[in-house]
Assembly symmetry: C2
Homo-oligomer: 463 residues x 2
């Protein structure tokens, strides 16, 4: 009796031992594979050289431009050369805005004049062909425009000069706290009779690169031209206004809003071996402002996405589920690519396990932010131990990304945003400084590795 | 009876509630103060402008140089202007090595010649005044030198061309795996009769900046001249050697090892209100290689350290323990400052709670590494929740720092190393590229904030 009990206890202990060592072994296998992903990417990853090629060949990729068309063709061919199982385009009609000739912003005072560093905001209308000259009213906020009222605003150029809120560790919080002077500032000024708007660039940098970005014209206000000044130029204008509140600013832009143009999302797939109909999607946006190279925004994201799948392919990994990379068109000034993707996903009854976006630059990885998988959050967080030190330090609730948000809204697909370190992003964002030279090879490749590792974990464990 | 029991339970519950809410309140106060540190530093920190001034005024700070003397005087004055309670110097005799005229490394082949990008290694002797010309033996390791033996090495220049090990997330691991070709490679080659050594720079970068750093001459080998080539120059030399193994390399350096010079550690203190004899020390090293500005190595560390104390002062914080900042001299080629500091600490029976060093660059913060406080590690790790997201993500075992290691050895003081992101450090380390322009303001200020927050926690809770 006692003997059989001992045997029983022994057998149970043995079973527990086998089970736990199997679990440990599996854990170990996953860790080994993820370490291989990181080592391979850091030592031999192609992301950096691909991004260099993109930035050299197609630096200007605004929706409807020749650059965007070239980049669409190039990324499609790249995935075909990689022999992804399926590469195709999705038709998307996109807004087509063109900047035209170089903008002019000049301060006239006495016999002198000073040229300011300026970029029209996306969607802005042109000034009259011979420009606009008017006095300037400097404000810090929408409320200040309201308070000043029509008697102080009418016929003038409103100058929003609120600095970037630097106090947040997460620069996206500072961006959100500042960006309304760009997005809705022009219409707010127009409501009170302003003839044009200039803003201090929404930038963390201490330099004179103007940072563009899209404005949104409200239906209840006339459309007026609007542009961003470099931070130093904004400070110069402010200083001169203090000396002479009557000084005149001359503005001349030749932007055009042309008819919508035919464009595309670019999609590539590696088919799943077990569940080919279940999709793990990763992507970024192919379009970029026409100022620098769109290296961080979002050349990094699309090269991350293709390279994450390429890494799995090179390592001989056969996914259970279909891995899909999507390069969305028109994130910057319309989001038509993201909307069209969601529409087609619903129409085709596609089954997305998850959609992941990289659209915060090619900087050193810090976290993933997850939206719409609250019940899975504990499970996701248990994956943290798989990521090497100083790569992904948190898996937490957060925003997925602009391009994948319509999919989340349409069918509830959980979305995940890749969160690299944000300190340098708004130094270059939407400006002529967003060039390949500001990308660090190792930081960029670590993004690819982190995305590949996350995709691997979703493929292995589901959500 | 029952009634009194109910009252008892009620009173106990009340006590627990009060106690736990007091704990929560205290936790909340600490969090609030630490958030204030971060916000203040990001919005108004002076670290970046101080580093700019240091890099502009005293870019060349090698031990014994005029630049080092100037920086000693400048940092001392700065802390006096801040009205720290005590500012003083510690006498340190330092090695005095000078690079002399710009080095020359030229490949001669046929009628042509190619100039390579070169920097003599620290402590290297000069070549004969008319230079050295010799055939080149390319190797990847010390072992390969041994295998080739005297018959293949004697009279030749040994060229160590092992690339930086890029596969580690932590670039310091790659550095350790590669750096022996610089530190002990020259003596290893000299043992087999080599007349000089050139190495491929120990660099993560894909460029042609040579990266210097100190060599160590062994006692059992003749001293021979040694220098680092830029990575592109090393690749060029390797390619040409494959075509013509007999090509000759011409080297000419005028370095000098001069007699030891008088120098100093610079020390500043804010006195503790409760335990003035207990010291929380933070520092970096004041000396730097003579090539760029020593902006990351280690201008960042010394400006971090002064600014961490300055932040506490500006916020009106009265420390319980004495806060001390130390700017060590001679980390790069002798460590005399760190050794002298430890010697004086023992001699004066000083009581250090902890010594913290920032000597890994002005990049975005990731962690603190702790040596010699194993029993306190759990306590330290409980502090992690105080650090904002995407700043300090780990408090873990690790190396403190070169300058504070002698103190740890001498009296067991626990040491702590600030660990910023390491991806870009070895792109610039010891090279002409380590200039102020490569420092990002926000990343640098986050280092100051993280150090100030850590010092605050040690001051509040002890180890």
């Amino acid at each position: 009796m006692i003997f059989s009990r001992i045997i029983k206890i022994f057998l149970i202990a043995l079973l527990i031992f086998i089970a736990s060592s199997t679990v440990a072994q599996e854990k170990d296998n996953h860790s080994t594979f993820i370490n291989t992903i990181y080592k391979t990417t850091l030592a031999k990853g192609a992301t950096y050289e691909l991004l260099r090629e993109l930035c050299e060949k197609y630096p200007k990729r605004l929706s409807g431009s020749d650059g965007a068309a070239g980049a669409i063709e190039w990324t499609k061919k790249l995935m075909q050369e990689y022999e992804f199982d399926r590469v195709f385009l999705q038709d998307v009609m996109v807004p087509h805005w063109e900047r035209g000739e170089k903008e002019v912003a000049t301060i006239h005072y006495g016999d002198g004049k000073i040229d300011l560093s300026v970029l029209a905001l996306g969607r802005s209308i042109a000034t009259p062909s011979n420009g606009i000259s008017a006095e300037v009213v400097e404000v810090k906020s929408h409320d200040e425009v309201t308070e000043l009222g029509r008697e102080n605003i009418e016929g003038k150029i409103v100058f929003y000069n609120r600095p970037f809120s630097q106090e947040f560790v997460n620069t996206f919080r500072g961006y959100v706290a500042t960006v309304n002077q760009r997005s809705s500032g022009p219409s707010q000024a127009a409501r009170f009779g302003a003839v044009a708007v200039v803003i201090r660039s929404v930038s963390t940098g201490d330099d004179d690169h103007p940072h563009t970005g899209t404005l949104s014209y409200a239906n209840d206000a006339p459309q007026i031209p609007a542009a961003a000044l470099g931070v130093h130029s904004a400070e110069k204008l402010s200083t001169l206004l203090q000396k002479n509140p009557k000084l005149e600013l001359f503005l001349k832009f030749n932007c055009q809003n042309l008819p919508d143009a035919q464009s595309y999302n670019v999609v590539g797939e590696i088919k799943g071996s077990t569940n080919p109909d279940k999709i793990i999607m990763v992507g970024g946006h192919l379009d970029a402002w026409d100022t620098g190279h769109g290296a961080h925004d979002d050349g990094a994201g699309i090269m991350h996405s293709i390279s994450a799948l390429r890494t799995m392919q090179v390592l001989g990994y056969k996914p259970k589920n279909t891995l899909r990379v999507v390069m969305f068109i028109n994130e910057e000034n319309g989001l038509r690519g993201g909307k069209k993707y969601a529409e087609l996903a619903v129409q085709n009854k596609e089954n997305h396990i998850i959609a992941i976006e990289s659209d915060a630059g090619g900087f050193t990885p810090r976290a993933f932010g997850i939206k719409g998988a609250d019940s899975s959050l504990t499970k996701l967080q248990s994956w943290l131990t798989y990521f090497p030190d100083n790569t992904i330090s948190a898996l937490k609730k957060g925003y997925g990304g602009a391009d994948i948000n319509p999919l989340n809204k349409a069918d509830g697909t959980p979305t995940v945003g890749f969160i690299p370190d944000s300190q340098r992003y708004f130094d270059v964002h939407h400006s002529p400084a967003d060039v390949f030279a500001t990308v660090n090879r190792r930081e960029l490749e670590l993004g690819t590795a982190s995305l590949a590792a996350f995709i691997y974990l979703v493929d292995q464990f589901g959500l």
